[in-house]
């Protein structure tokens, strides 16, 4: 009865296993071999701990490590606190749909583009300083380290500008599954303040629903490369950037300590996640004791207000950063302390014409292909679960999250070598494959909840009316789920457009996308051309989100039950 279900599930599992998990394992294995001294290409074939000793002795290693921990863990914890506080303060006034619309630009814009914009907004010669210049009487930029600062503060802020909106969306959609208003009423009737009800009653229910996304945020923040290059300190940089630089050092022998660094990066992420699990357990114990004490502590309100204010400031910074990209892309001469360009020009758009058209085409092609593959795989997976009438096993859930938790730098070099070994040359196909590894999990996460939220009795009704599995899928499920499917596709587009390291490594640099070009150009002197690329980089995913809102609204304009907000987005 469920044979075709088993077959489909088997095919999908093999595809995910061979296509997504095997490359990561293989890449990690190759990197780990190099980390322990085995790299036959350089004539190294004895097991040794030398790469680790060399790594520890590299100048600035300890500082890099500290920077990584401070910016990664710090930005994640602060982002979670702020996003939670903000939700506690505004939840009653904001529907998930309104939240999604407000947050979409922040989710759509890739990290690199946001970093380029923020670098200009925050710099001592940047927009904020220019606005203050007449008041402070500055004719030269003040000598303040506001970006690339040695503490990594600018990077911390940059990460939070991207992570807080993501967490807000995750928390808002989690709250949609909890009867918040009734719990709030019940709690307040017992004499607890709004903030305390939030901490003692709501958050313990929300946390299990947002735990995995928080892990993903932590893993990302600990291993981010593009944003850290643009906003982080350079001497020394964070560990992920340092490892990337060591991999591309003229001295090939550096690949060995670089591999050790890449494995260390993976260990740090694992330790970070373990720390979160430990903290969760400790909080649960301490929290229970605190709950039983029954303190009413009415004073959480100032904290919530501070968190809300901080979120507003972050969103303001992010909005300014996005605006600055557009302004730069149409500027000609724009020097300190002018708040607007002295002369305007469309030349950056025309001048880079051949360049950006091609990068845009490549980016579009990659996004289209990776999203198509990922979506097909995700639908096949979910349909396989339906046909086998099973729910998802925890190990399968872990399989999906794995690519998001293993730092890219940890396995990309090894994967590149492995790909070449089995005769897959660098290029478009290899990039598509490498991107699917990261796009598929997000598409899967975005689609899983709405897919399972579909009333199974609706599908039973279709079956009882004589519709076979194929007709149930094509004529019932897919049309009803059109909006979440398109939203998942938009998420996939955003993830694909933002991929930097996989595109760089697997494309042998030949596959020029908006992101690789924007990061390369951000190390150049022309903010105007960078502005063009970063604007396009943000525009493409934004257009995808817009389409995900508009297409169902048009196709289902006469279907009231389908024009509501999408049930979930990551």
């Amino acid at each position: 009865m469920t044979r075709d279900g088993r077959l489909l599930r088997g095919v999908v599992l093999v595809a995910v296993g061979l296509g997504l998990i095997a490359p990561i394992t293989l890449g990690l294995w190759q990197t780990a071999r190099a980390a322990f001294g085995i790299l036959p290409a350089l004539g190294r074939d004895t097991l040794s701990l030398d790469p680790w000793r060399d790594l520890a002795l590299l100048p600035g290693f300890a500082t890099s490590l500290r920077l990584t921990l401070v910016t990664g863990v710090g930005s994640t914890l602060l982002s979670v606190l702020m996003a939670t506080g903000f939700c506690a303060a505004v939840h009653a006034r904001m529907t998930p749909a309104a939240g999604a619309r407000l947050l979409t630009p922040f989710l759509a814009i890739p990290h690199a583009a946001m970093a380029v914009g923020l670098a200009f907004v925050l710099a001592p010669s940047g927009w904020i300083a220019r606005a203050l210049a007449p008041l402070a009487g500055w004719d030269r930029p003040p000598e303040l380290a506001t970006v690339n600062d040695g503490w990594g503060f600018a990077l911390l802020v940059g990460l939070m500008v991207k992570e807080v909106p993501f967490l807000l969306l995750v928390i808002l959609s989690a709250l949609g599954q909890i009867p918040v208003a009734r719990h709030m009423a019940a709690g307040r009737a017992l004499g607890y303040g709004r903030g305390i009800v939030w901490i003692k009653i709501i958050m313990p229910q929300v946390w299990p629903l947002i735990r995995l996304p928080v892990w993903v945020v932590l893993a990302y923040a600990l291993s981010v490369v593009d944003m850290a290059i643009i906003l982080g300190p350079s001497n020394p940089p964070t560990l992920a950037v340092a490892v990337t630089r060591w991999f591309t050092n003229p001295d090939p022998a550096m690949i060995l300590p670089a591999s050790a660094g890449a494995i260390l990066q993976a260990v740090i992420v694992a330790a970070g996640v373990a720390l979160l699990i430990g903290a969760e357990a400790a909080m649960r114990r301490a929290g229970r004791w605190w709950l039983r004490r029954g303190g009413r502590g009415l004073s959480a309100e100032p904290g919530l207000r501070a968190a809300s204010a901080a979120v507003m400031v972050l969103m303001g910074l992010g909005a300014l950063a996005m605006l600055s990209l557009v302004v730069w892309s149409v500027a000609w001469r724009w020097s300190f302390p002018q708040i607007l360009p002295e002369s305007w020009s469309l030349r950056p758009w025309g001048g880079a014409h051949d360049g950006w058209m091609r990068a845009l085409a490549n980016t579009g092609l990659l996004a289209g292909a990776t999203v198509a593959v990922s979506l097909a795989l995700a639908i096949a997976w979910l349909e396989g679960e339906d046909r086998a009438r099973r729910t998802r096993a925890p190990w399968a859930e872990a399989l999906i999250y794995l690519p998001l938790l293993v730092p890219q730098i940890g396995f990309l070099f090894g994967l590149n070598v492995a790909f070449l070994h089995i005769g897959i040359s660098s290029g478009m196909a290899a990039v598509i494959w490498a991107q699917v590894v990261f796009v598929f999990p997000y598409v899967m996460i975005a689609l899983s909840d709405p897919w399972r939220a579909l009333d199974p009795r609706m599908i039973h009704a279709a079956a009882a009316l004589g519709a076979g599995p194929g007709r149930r899928l094509w004529a019932v499920k897919l049309p009803i789920l059109l909006r979440p499917i398109l939203t998942a596709a938009a998420v996939g587009v955003a993830v694909s457009v933002a991929q930097y390291l996989p595109t760089l490594f697997m494309g042998a640099g030949r596959v020029a996308t908006l992101t690789t070009e924007a990061v390369t150009l951000s190390s150049g002197s022309d903010r105007r051309v960078t502005g063009v690329y970063a604007t396009l980089q943000a525009a493409l995913p934004f257009a995808a989100y817009l389409a995900a809102f508009a297409i169902p609204a048009i196709l289902h304009r006469n279907r009231r039950d389908l024009t509501g907000a999408p049930a979930h987005e990551p």
Binding site: M1, A463, R472
Partner: protein, 215 residues
Amino acid sequence: MSLDLEALCIHAADGTALFAPLTLHVPAGSVVTVMGPSGVGKSTLLDSIGGHLAHGFRLSGKVRLNRRDVTDLPAETRRIGLMFQDALLFPHLSVGDNLAFGLPPALRGRAARRAAVDAALDQAGLTGLHDRDPATLSGGQRARAALMRTLLADPAALLLDEPFSKLDAALRGDMRRFTFDHVRARAIPTLLVTHDPDDAALGGTVVALTGHPTA
């Protein structure tokens, strides 16, 4: 036409049976009502008869339709209609297309299919609502549309899962009569699960489903 259950029993993943084995004969055109406390597995019983049983449950015994064993057939080939407390009209299709969804493929020709749907709409007092969004119908209209959709599929048996419980009291009686009249007119063996005694009162045989002693 008849629906027969022979020592039907459902076991959970850990092997425990949900209820004592059930043997039941539902003759054509009659409604057999199954009553029982909530949680005893009434909906799961209907799932097993219709072929929708979730993974992890194991079925013993037989389901026979017109004496043919359908226990191992996939749901879409059993020709067993299903009605729930919610109408569950497909939200992306118009009212008419919802009804047309169940029409057997053997009925050919656009005009013939459209005529069958329109006739069903007329019978259900839904004349002229062919192109309407199902979300804009009233509760009673939705329930009648759902019944018509099920009947257009020409079911050999009908399973009703507390079909009237979400309707308000006045409507409930009308809908119950409307449903039972159609069932009898078409001589469809019908199994109804409910905890509403009024549902049972109008039907024929009443069977009590009792939980397994260890459950």
